[in-house]
């Protein structure tokens, strides 16, 4: 296994920090995907990939930031854009997807999903509420 040539001047502590964060992040992504394959219902499965999108992404972003900052001896923080973007967009997509799945299950009359709660009913009758795109 060859070493990485451009990282030859990387100090040992930085290499260790980058290694720990890389293995931690990718291990979290792998754990989330294992749960994604193994869990039984969709509403359980929708939780599993968030392990990768929260700390999996965060840890790999931190590893990349530390690596390029130490290597170029100046703070390189533009990777934080990916972290912020993924953190902001993942709840939005998963809420939309869970809403769509719930709507599909309810319209099929699937008995495993709960019915519309009474608190939601007047909000749905008075048009689209502001919080639901």
């Amino acid at each position: 296994m060859s070493t990485i040539e451009h990282a030859a001047e990387l100090p040992a502590w930085a290499a260790l920090v980058v290694s720990v964060f890389l293995v931690l992040g990718s291990g979290l992504v792998l754990m989330g995907m294992l749960g994604f394959v193994r869990l039984s219902t969709f509403y359980e499965r929708i939780h599993a990939p968030t392990l990768g999108t929260s700390w999996g992404t965060g840890s790999i972003v931190i590893a990349s930031m530390v690596f390029f900052s130490v290597l170029s001896t100046r703070p390189v923080v533009h990777e934080i854009l990916i972290g912020i973007f993924v953190t902001v967009t993942t709840p939005v997509t998963l809420m939309l997807l869970a809403r769509a799945a719930l709507h599909r299950d309810r319209s099929e009359g699937n008995p495993e999903v709960p019915e519309d709660s009474p608190a939601e009913m007047p909000a749905e009758e008075s048009g689209e509420p502001a919080g639901r795109a």
């Binding site: 995907m33 973007f85 769509a100």
Partner: protein
């Protein structure tokens, strides 16, 4: 010594992410319903984005950061579009 550890951990991270992509693809082909496949596609996007970031660390170029940012944005937009399609397609039916 520490550089050997770094090289090993980069390879380990790449292997983990590729295995995670395979698992997402298993769910995408096997997933019983459409929402499982959409969720698997979203997870696949996230995995490929992280794989590109790890590849950027391995190769030392910051160009891969921009590619992974674009992948993240396209993944968000496509998942939102597919979720809207899932919700509205059955309303029309």
């Amino acid at each position: 010594m520490s550089h050997v550890i770094l090289a090993c951990s980069v390879v380990i991270a790449q292997v983990f992410l590729v295995v995670a992509m395979w698992l997402a693809m298993v769910r995408m082909f096997r997933g019983p319903r459409a929402q499982d496949r959409v969720l698997a596609l979203d997870a696949l996007y996230v995995c490929s984005m992280l794989l590109l970031m790890v590849f950027g660390i391995r190769s030392g170029h910051t160009i891969y950061f921009e590619a992974s940012l674009i992948i993240g944005m396209l993944g968000f937009v496509s998942t939102v579009a597919l979720a809207k399609f899932l919700m509205r397609g059955e309303v029309i039916e």
